[in-house]
Structures are given as structure tokens and as C-alpha cells.
């Protein structure tokens, strides 16, 4: 039990884009560019950012569902890139994923018991299935009589519970949660968030929680990494990020969250960013956020800001990062 459970260092993932039939130049999508972070046992790291920022790709790289272009991922002290055969299979047992869409991620032709048994069957642990399935259903707040039903007989929230139960079948150490509640109705979202927190406490799980909803991420995460166009722009304790965001993008993101409180909405100072996300095929030079940043200067164009502590108490990748804005 020494060192972090997961250590990601200098992770890069580029996707080649071929020229299309209707022209188009092709090129390289810089989906994840030099991303580093660590995750402890029993800890939740929230990975936030908007579509195309690379958060889901990062999650898939960590699980080795994608091969990185460069960089290293160490899980419990072992570099996972070199693993083959038995060692790789054992690794897969210890890291699992829950997907966003509880409709697409469950096979409609399988009964719940088959869905939950599949990980065990693959790992050659068929004998455990009978005892384990009712246990798993109970863990996620479903009943043992649900085992013989098909996914279509369940509501969205219940399906997500099934997806969570499946991820726990092999007793993993790490679960990557890729937007696990964003497809759910508000009242159901809260139920699933509570369930995840409870399971983490009980099972000592580490969560990599990928989401775009900042209120949700803040609620569940110990630490938060904010991503923009393939890079982490700020990372730190959840409380520190929310009360003393140093990066302009983090500040804009936080100020854009609509809050269910009319008085605060009337009083708020909103930072509305100009323009859209630049293309990840041809990201801006220097700081990638500079094209939408109100603080941008010449330096931002020529020199990429490093992700280091600039007096905020946590690393921020901005030449002109604020120190304690919310004071």
C-alpha cells in the first residue's frame, strides 16, 4: 500500500484523421496532450471539461482501452503498457468502467444475471456467479428477483444501477465513471450519486469521475482536474478549485453554471466566453485557451504556460493566474 494507486505521467494521445472523400486535409487530432495526475486508493478525482477536451479519452487510456501515443500509466506500481496475457487480464479485473448511457451499455438480449455474470465468466470465475449476483444486486439497491429480467424492463436509473453492479462484479480497485449521471433525471441523479458515495466508502474504491456538470463533480470529488483542449489547466482539492480558481477557464466554467437560486442568479457576475472551442486538429500555439481568454497577451501566444503552483496552493497552467479571486 505504498504510492498512489494510479499514476499518469505525460500522457499523449493523437488520432490520425484521414482526408475525406469530399476533400478535407486530414491531420492529427491532439485529443490528450501531456496529461499527468495521480489518484490514491479510496479517492475520487473529478475530471471536468467540455466536449472534446479529452476527458473521456483520458479515461479510456487509463483503462488501456486505447493505446497511448506516448506517456506512462502506472497502476499500483506497475507500468500497464507492457502488460500482456495473464498479467493484463488481472489488471483488467482491477479496473472497471461505468458508461454514460444506461440504454446503450447493457446488452438488450441478456438477462440481468447474465450481464452481471459476464465479467466473472471472462475471468474464469464462473463458480462464483451464483452467490455473487444477488450480492451485487443488493449492493446497488436492487432485488434478487430482478436477476431474471431484461434491461428494457428497468428505468434509466435502475439500468445505471445494473451498470454499476457489473463494474463491481470483480471487486475492482479503480472505477472510471464516464458521465454516470448525466443521462438521468434530476431526482434519479441524486439517488445514483448517493449510491456511488456509499459504495466507495464501503469498498474503498478509487473513482475517476468524468463529467461536465461542475456541481455534480464538486459534490463527489476529493480533487478536481479541469481539462481544456487536451490539457489539464488546473488541478487541486475540490474546495480549493471552487473557492480559489486561478485559471481563467476554470473561473469562466464556474461562473457559467446556472444555479438553482434566483437571488444568486440575479446577483452573479457572469463571465461569458467569446467564441467556440478551437479545433483540436490545429490547436492554438502557446496557451490553448488564449483565443477565448480575456487576459491573453503576447506571451500566451509564444510560450505554453506550465502546470505549476503559482501561489494558489495548487498547480495552474496560466501565465497570469489569479491568486485567490474569491476573497
Amino acid at each position: 500500500m505504498s504510492g498512489p494507486l494510479l499514476e499518469v505521467d505525460g500522457l499523449v494521445k493523437h488520432f490520425d484523421v484521414k482526408a475525406g472523400y469530399f476533400g478535407g486535409d486530414g491531420g492529427v487530432v491532439h485529443a490528450v496532450d501531456d496529461v499527468s495526475f495521480a489518484l490514491d486508493r479510496n479517492e475520487t478525482l473529478g475530471l471536468v471539461g467540455e466536449s472534446g477536451c479529452g476527458k473521456s479519452t483520458t479515461g479510456r487510456l487509463v483503462l488501456r482501452l486505447l493505446e497511448p501515443t506516448s506517456g506512462t500509466i502506472c497502476f499500483d506500481g506497475t507500468e500497464i503498457h507492457s502488460l500482456r496475457g495473464r498479467a493484463l487480464r488481472d489488471l483488467r479485473r482491477r479496473m472497471q468502467i461505468v458508461f454514460q448511457d444506461p440504454y446503450a451499455s447493457l446488452n438488450p438480449r441478456m438477462r440481468v444475471q447474465e450481464i452481471l455474470a459476464e465479467p466473472m465468466v471472462i475471468q474464469g470465475r464462473r463458480r462464483e456467479v451464483k452467490a455473487r449476483v444477488p450480492q451485487l444486486l443488493d449492493m446497488v439497491g436492487l432485488h434478487s428477483e430482478h436477476a431474471t429480467r431484461y434491461p428494457h424492463e428497468f428505468s434509466g436509473g435502475q439500468r445505471q444501477r445494473i451498470g454499476i453492479a457489473r463494474s463491481l462484479a470483480l471487486d475492482p480497485d479503480l472505477v472510471v465513471l464516464d458521465e454516470p449521471v448525466s443521462a438521468l433525471d434530476v431526482s434519479i441523479q441524486a439517488q445514483v450519486l448517493n449510491l456511488l458515495a456509499e459504495l466507495q466508502e464501503r469498498l474503498g474504491l478509487a473513482f475517476l469521475f468524468i463529467a461536465h456538470d461542475l456541481s455534480v463533480v464538486r459534490h463527489i470529488s476529493d480533487r478536481i482536474a479541469v481539462m481544456y483542449l487536451g490539457k489539464i489547466v488546473e488541478i487541486g482539492a475540490a474546495a480549493a478549485i471552487y473557492s480559489g480558481a486561478g485559471h481563467p477557464y476554470t473561473q469562466a466554467l464556474l461562473s457559467a453554471v446556472p444555479e438553482p437560486d434566483p437571488r444568486r442568479e440575479r446577483a452573479r457576475r457572469r463571465i461569458v466566453l467569446e467564441g467556440d472551442l478551437p479545433s483540436p486538429i490545429d490547436p492554438p500555439t502557446g496557451c490553448r485557451f488564449r483565443t477565448r481568454c480575456w487576459k491573453a497577451q503576447e506571451l500566451c501566444e509564444t510560450e505554453e504556460p506550465a502546470l505549476v503552483d503559482r501561489g494558489q496552493g495548487h498547480p495552474v497552467a496560466c501565465h497570469f493566474a489569479d491568486v485567490s479571486v474569491n476573497a
Partner: protein
């Protein structure tokens, strides 16, 4: 006739399905005053979008409006011929949909689609309509609007498409703008931009707005009054502050409590509404919320509470216990904390 711009009375919308008749909207009444923003809030299946489509006259088979009145600008929309309706749509009565990509025609230039809306209603010269289309794109904040008007929808980003939809909707200075989850498909910083544009568009046209959404944050920043729907019925109605600070229905209170907030206690369990919304095919006989309600009593399972005034006349709730609810909620809060 009232002085309301839109007056919906006792609306009932049914759909024929293989499993029987589904009543998606069940005796719903609300009104919108000129210039005001009314938000209809609810989760999936609550009937909020079907209500909006009924106003637009867009309920198609197997659905039908089984009962009720829809009066708009002192005209009874249920009795006007389709030809008249078509003049209203995109004219005085405009709608913005959730998914701009499926609402824009991929084969036509964005500017031409907006010009078409203008030519249908107010403009006669194609050239003038095109010029006005570019002006409208500029109003909604499309950079280099003159050039971008010649782009096709696929060349626009999601946020720009939604802006183009807004430009099209306000083209003919509508009296009422119906926005059905206008920012749900967008990223949070783009959502902020589009909401800003929507506010500006409303200001410049003096349009009233009917905002359909599930996002209470969006409601808090946009609406004057709010209607909360659950299982096809209105359960609570009031001004923005009445709803957010003095809610009198267990469902509204439950929704507000179940939201994680930027300033709430981290990692403290959220107070949820237990269970799942009922199937509209199989509604409980009494109050639809009763099986999930923290304050349920025996008669809630058999009798259905009517929407009645609680305090000021703007505030109404459909709960037998609405009067004692503030005290009850206080007790539960104390017990759980």
C-alpha cells in the same frame, strides 16, 4: 377573454399506444402575459414538451388534443384552420427546439433558411430578406454574419446552430417564443452564451417566452413565473421566488433538495426523492407522487388533490398537506441532519 397573451385551459392530450391510451397531459391550465417568461419544469415524461407542441398545433397521430382550450392573442387556436395556423407559426408564435441540427435543413444555407422564414411572413423581396437574415445572425452574435449566412448548418458549431435557430425564431418579431430545452445539448460555457442571446432576443422583440426545461438553474436565471409538472399534471405554480424559496409541494421541494450545489456540503448525502416516476400508462389513483412522497397519508393514495391557492393568489399547489408542509419539511430536515 382575458388580457393574457396565451391562455391554456384544461388541456388534455392523449396518445394511442399498443398498450392503451396514454394521457400525457391531463387537465393542465396556465397563462402567459405579454412580455413575461413562464418556465415549465419537469422530468422526462412529465408532459412539458407535449404541452408546448399542443400550443404550436403540432400534435400528430397517434396523439390528439382530447379536451381543453388554447387561446393565443385572443384567438381560439383549436378552431382556426390549418392555413391560419401556418401563418402564426414562425410569425407571432415561434419555437426553438432542443436539437438545432435536426431542426435546420442540412441542404440549404443558414442565411437562406432564415430568409425563407422572413419571406413566408413579412418580406417580399428576396434580396431584402437575405440582408435582414444577416442582420439577425449578427443580433444573435454570429461573427462575420454576412459571410457566415452563406454557410451550411454542418459548418456551424452546436452553439452557433442554436443561435441561428434563435435568429430564425425572432425573425418576424413573435409575440410568444416557445423554447423547448434550448440549451440542454450544449456545453456549459456555450449554454451561458446562448442564454444571454435568448435574453437579448427577448428584450429586443418584447416577446413573451414559454421556457420548457428540466434545469432549475436555467429557470432561476430566466423565468418570472414557474409551473412544475409531474406525471402529466401541474403540481405547483408560482412566481420564481415563491417556488424557489417557499415551495409548497413535496415534489418541488424534493427536486430542489436533490440538486448538488456549488456551495452545498460536499459529500453529505443528497436528499433524494425515493423511487422512480410512475408510468403514464399506469398512474396511481390518488396523487401521482404518493408512492414516492415523504409526507404521504392514507387518503393521498385514493384522492387526488386539486391545484389550490396557498397564500398569495399567484402561488398554487396540488397537495393536501401544503399548509402544514413548511413545518413538516423543517422537522425532516432536523431529523436528517
Amino acid at each position: 377573454m382575458t388580457d393574457a397573451l396565451l391562455d391554456v385551459r384544461d388541456l388534455q392530450v392523449e396518445f394511442d399506444t399498443e398498450d392503451g391510451v396514454v394521457t400525457a397531459v391531463n387537465g393542465v391550465s396556465f397563462s402567459v402575459e405579454p412580455g413575461e417568461t413562464l418556465a415549465i419544469v419537469g422530468e422526462s415524461g412529465s408532459g412539458k414538451s407535449v404541452s408546448a407542441l399542443s400550443i404550436m398545433g403540432l400534435i400528430e397521430k397517434p396523439g390528439r388534443i382530447a379536451r381543453g382550450h388554447v387561446d393565443f392573442d385572443n384567438r381560439d387556436l383549436r378552431s382556426i384552420p390549418e392555413r391560419e395556423y401556418r401563418k402564426l407559426r414562425g410569425g407571432d408564435l415561434a419555437m426553438i427546439f432542443q436539437d438545432p441540427l435536426s431542426s435546420l435543413n442540412p441542404a440549404f444555407r443558414v442565411g437562406d433558411q432564415i430568409a425563407e422564414a422572413l419571406l413566408t411572413h413579412t418580406y417580399e423581396s428576396k434580396k431584402a430578406a437575405r440582408r435582414q437574415a444577416a442582420v439577425l445572425l449578427d443580433v444573435v452574435g454570429i461573427p462575420q454574419a454576412g459571410d457566415r449566412a452563406r454557410d451550411y448548418p454542418h459548418q456551424f458549431s452546436g452553439g452557433m446552430r442554436q443561435r441561428a435557430m434563435i435568429a430564425m425564431a425572432i425573425a418576424n418579431k413573435p409575440k410568444l417564443l416557445i423554447a423547448d430545452e434550448p440549451t440542454t445539448a450544449l456545453d456549459v460555457t456555450i449554454q451561458a452564451q446562448v442564454l444571454e442571446v435568448l435574453r437579448k432576443a427577448q428584450r429586443e422583440t418584447d416577446a413573451a417566452m414559454l421556457l420548457i426545461t428540466h434545469d432549475l438553474g436555467v429557470v432561476a436565471g430566466m423565468a418570472d413565473r414557474v409551473v412544475v409538472m409531474y406525471a402529466g399534471r401541474i403540481v405547483e405554480e408560482g412566481t420564481l421566488d415563491e417556488l424557489f424559496y417557499a415551495a409548497r409541494h413535496p415534489y418541488t421541494i424534493g427536486l430542489l433538495n436533490s440538486l448538488p450545489r456549488l456551495d452545498s456540503d460536499r459529500r453529505k448525502p443528497l436528499r433524494t426523492i425515493p423511487g422512480t416516476p410512475p408510468s403514464v400508462l399506469n398512474l396511481p389513483p390518488g396523487c401521482a407522487l404518493a408512492p414516492r412522497c415523504l409526507y404521504v397519508q392514507d387518503h393521498c393514495l385514493e384522492d387526488r388533490p386539486e391545484l389550490t391557492a396557498v397564500g398569495p393568489e399567484t402561488h398554487r399547489s396540488a397537495c393536501f398537506r401544503s399548509a402544514e408542509l413548511p413545518a413538516l419539511v423543517g422537522v425532516v430536515t432536523d431529523a436528517s441532519s
